[in-house]
């Protein structure tokens, strides 16, 4: 039982990171039909922005975290929206998807060439102190990841459902034409979505890097897992992405411990196949029917 709890908490902490990245997939898809295959790199880049601020310009740690989030919102939010998505979305979903794949390569190679190909240690906000409760050892840093991720998710849900801007964003996601008729500033709402996505990706980056090290290739697996999490949970629901992320984090650990370490990577993909076969809208997603 102790082992199970240990696996569960560790899995939830990892899963929370997947969830933060997966939410981005669903947000962008809902408001602008953008599938962002550079999402993994969006989670990799902010850690390096913080490292550049700290090591090249000597900015204090906390200030460089704030700077990294702001720079990410500018670079991965505003610039991404207006330089890549804006001009390309008019040409259909496929050219945009291919462009995001190209963007992922560009970001990865840029970090490799301009910073380093080697993994970097990343300072942590919370100390690595161990807390042991009923035989379960959890580091404060790991609990912090889980707490920050969950608080971010709760705040996001509150923002989307409880504020006027959030409801306008939802209206834009559900039907941009009607939203525009009702006076919702659709373009601005779409930009907000990109900003939120960039901020969430930056949060995930700053949370995950102290534990798993910052490396230019981190986005490869993270992006793939977050994509699978979004599909498993439901691509058109934020809560689906959260559930998908947490589920895969936990499942990965449980599969490694109780099934086989050798086949741990196969388990999320088997889950993906099962979901696509039996519940294509995802575990918490809603059915979408589009007029042709």
């Amino acid at each position: 039982m102790t082992d199970f709890l240990q696996l569960l908490i560790s899995g939830l902490a990892t899963g929370a990171i997947y969830a933060l990245a997966a939410i981005g997939f669903t947000l962008l898809w809902q408001t602008s039909q953008t599938i962002n295959f550079a999402q993994g790199e969006f989670v990799m880049v902010p850690a390096f922005l913080a490292l550049i601020a700290m090591r090249w310009f000597g900015v204090p740690f906390v200030a460089s975290l704030v700077l990294a989030i702001l720079a990410s919102m500018l670079l991965l939010g505003v610039a991404f929206r207006y330089i890549i998505v804006g001009p390309l979305i008019r040409r259909g979903v496929l050219p945009l998807v291919i462009s995001t794949i190209a963007l992922s390569i560009l970001l990865k190679e840029s970090v490799k060439d301009f910073y380093s190909a080697e993994a970097q240690t990343f300072p942590t906000l919370l100390p690595d102190t161990l807390i042991t409760v009923a035989g379960v050892s959890v580091s404060l840093a790991q609990l912090g990841v889980l707490a920050v991720a969950l608080v971010t998710i709760v705040l996001l849900q509150w923002f989307l459902a409880g504020t006027r801007t959030g409801r306008q964003m939802q209206a834009t996601a559900q039907n941009p034409t009607v939203a525009r008729i009702l006076g919702v500033p659709v373009e601005r709402m779409i930009l907000y979505t990109f900003l939120i996505n960039a901020a969430l990706a930056a949060m995930a980056s700053l949370l995950v890097s102290p534990i798993y090290l910052a490396k230019f290739s981190n986005g490869e697996t993270l992006g793939l897992i977050a994509f699978v999490a979004a599909i498993v949970g439901g691509f058109n629901q934020v809560r689906g992405a959260i559930a998908g992320g947490l589920l895969i984090g936990v499942l990965d650990n449980l599969a490694a411990a109780y099934v086989s370490t050798a086949y741990r990577q196969a388990i999320p993909l088997i889950l993906l196949v099962l979901v696509i076969l039996f519940r294509p809208q995802g575990l918490l997603g809603r059915k979408e029917e589009r007029a042709v």
């Binding site: 580091s139 490869e220 411990a257």
Partner: protein, 379 residues
């Protein structure tokens, strides 16, 4: 008249110097892991080999010719390594350096054998030199040499009767796991847990829980650099209190830097290290650190000795010819008094396997400390 003389002179100078400066350089392709999972090892190798080539060129080159290294990225992918090797061999080089990852070496060794070009590589998987290539040469111990030493240490040093093995699921890891399992069985040591992990794996919670459950006398950890660091951090977090024993990588400087406190207490066998009690190697470590602002690990040393191997063999053969260089290297012993760049006396046998002294060490206060020097296998 003056103008004519100057024109003739300039043509003569141009004709003699310019083409001579470029065409006579020996180009050695370095097909290594500059990105992907092996980027850390590739960067070390690249720096080490560049340093050696600068020194060799400054002292007159090889048989009067300068060396130029050409770096080609395998992206840590055997398929890309193979394609890069094909392109490199089309130019008929005198030698090839790399790859470092065993999987990529395995995918390319037949190509260099067919082209009769010596391949000085960094792979450590046991089976690489057992495939009959007359052109493959190691810069570090193969697992067939290092694992018996580790098994002896587990039996005599750690006094283990049961061992848990955790390895990375690639050619390097599986080769090591097969070799250590065989060696442990020969010493009546029981393997009570056999845990496979993935390259690039981030979360080691489940693996550490399984290791705790196995309750072995010692744990043999055989992972690549970053995964080693993540594993050590998780092991410390969960309070895994069994001796952690590794081979070279686990005690490497990169792992120590990345794992921080969690690396303290790790023990094992070290094939190559700049902390070895050998003045030449320590001197190399200082020069490298001054130049690249980071401490080299064994991959830096491996990259550094590769050009010196070719230099010594070419000078023994008396010509810059791949076939002659390979033939000269077989059975050759290179000593630091004749070739200082080789750092430690080393011998290559007919299969390209290397033999030299090695070390037992442990990590204390964030530093690798060598506790014992093991002799060469064959005198």
């Amino acid at each position: 008249m003056l103008r004519k003389t100057l024109a003739v002179a300039s043509i003569a100078i141009g004709g003699l110097w310019a083409p001579a400066g470029f065409a006579q350089d020996i180009v050695i392709p370095n097909i290594i892991e500059l990105s992907g999972g092996g980027a850390t090892v590739g960067a070390m190798w690249k720096n080490g080999s560049s340093m050696a080539v600068e020194e060799i060129n400054a002292s007159g080159g090889i048989l009067g010719k300068k060396i130029k290294l050409e770096f080609i990225d395998t992206a840590s992918d055997p398929g890309k390594a193979r394609a890069a090797m094909q392109r490199a061999l089309d130019d008929k080089p005198v030698a090839i350096f790399g790859p470092i990852y065993s999987g990529s070496v395995s995918a390319t060794l037949k190509m260099t054998a067919d082209a009769e070009v010596p391949q000085v590589m960094g792979g450590e998987a046991g089976p690489l030199t057992a495939q009959g290539s007359k052109y493959l040469f190691r810069t570090s111990f193969g697992q067939n040499v290092s694992m018996p030493k580790i098994a002896n240490y587990l039996r005599d040093g750690a006094k283990a009767k049961t061992v848990a093995v955790v390895y990375v699921n690639n050619d390097f890891g599986k080769g090591g796991r097969d070799a250590i399992t065989k060696e442990l069985a020969a010493r009546d040591i029981k393997v009570v847990a056999d845990i496979s992990t993935e390259a690039g794996q981030a979360d080691f919670a489940a693996d550490v829980i399984k290791l705790k459950g196995a309750n072995a006398d010692a744990i043999f950890v055989y992972l690549n650099e970053e995964e080693s660091a993540r594993f050590l951090r998780e092991a410390k977090k969960q309070g895994l209190n069994k001796p952690l024993v590794g081979e070279t990588t686990l005690l490497g400087q990169k792992v120590i830097d990345l794992a921080g406190d969690a690396a303290n207490g790790v023990k094992g066998h070290v094939g190559l290290t700049v902390d070895a009690p050998v003045p030449a190697i320590q001197e190399f470590g200082k020069k490298y650190e001054a130049k690249y602002k980071s401490k080299p690990d064994h991959n830096g040393v491996k990259g550094y000795i590769a050009p010196y191997m070719i230099k010594a063999a070419a000078e023994k053969a008396g010509k810059l010819d791949g076939k002659a260089i390979a033939a000269a290297l077989h059975g050759m012993t290179i000593t630091p008094d004749k070739v200082p760049g080789i750092l430690i006396e080393a011998t290559w046998d007919d299969t390209g396997e290397i033999d030299r002294i090695s070390f037992l060490g442990e990590v204390k206060d964030g530093k690798q400390v060598i506790t014992e020097t093991l002799p060469k296998l064959k005198k």
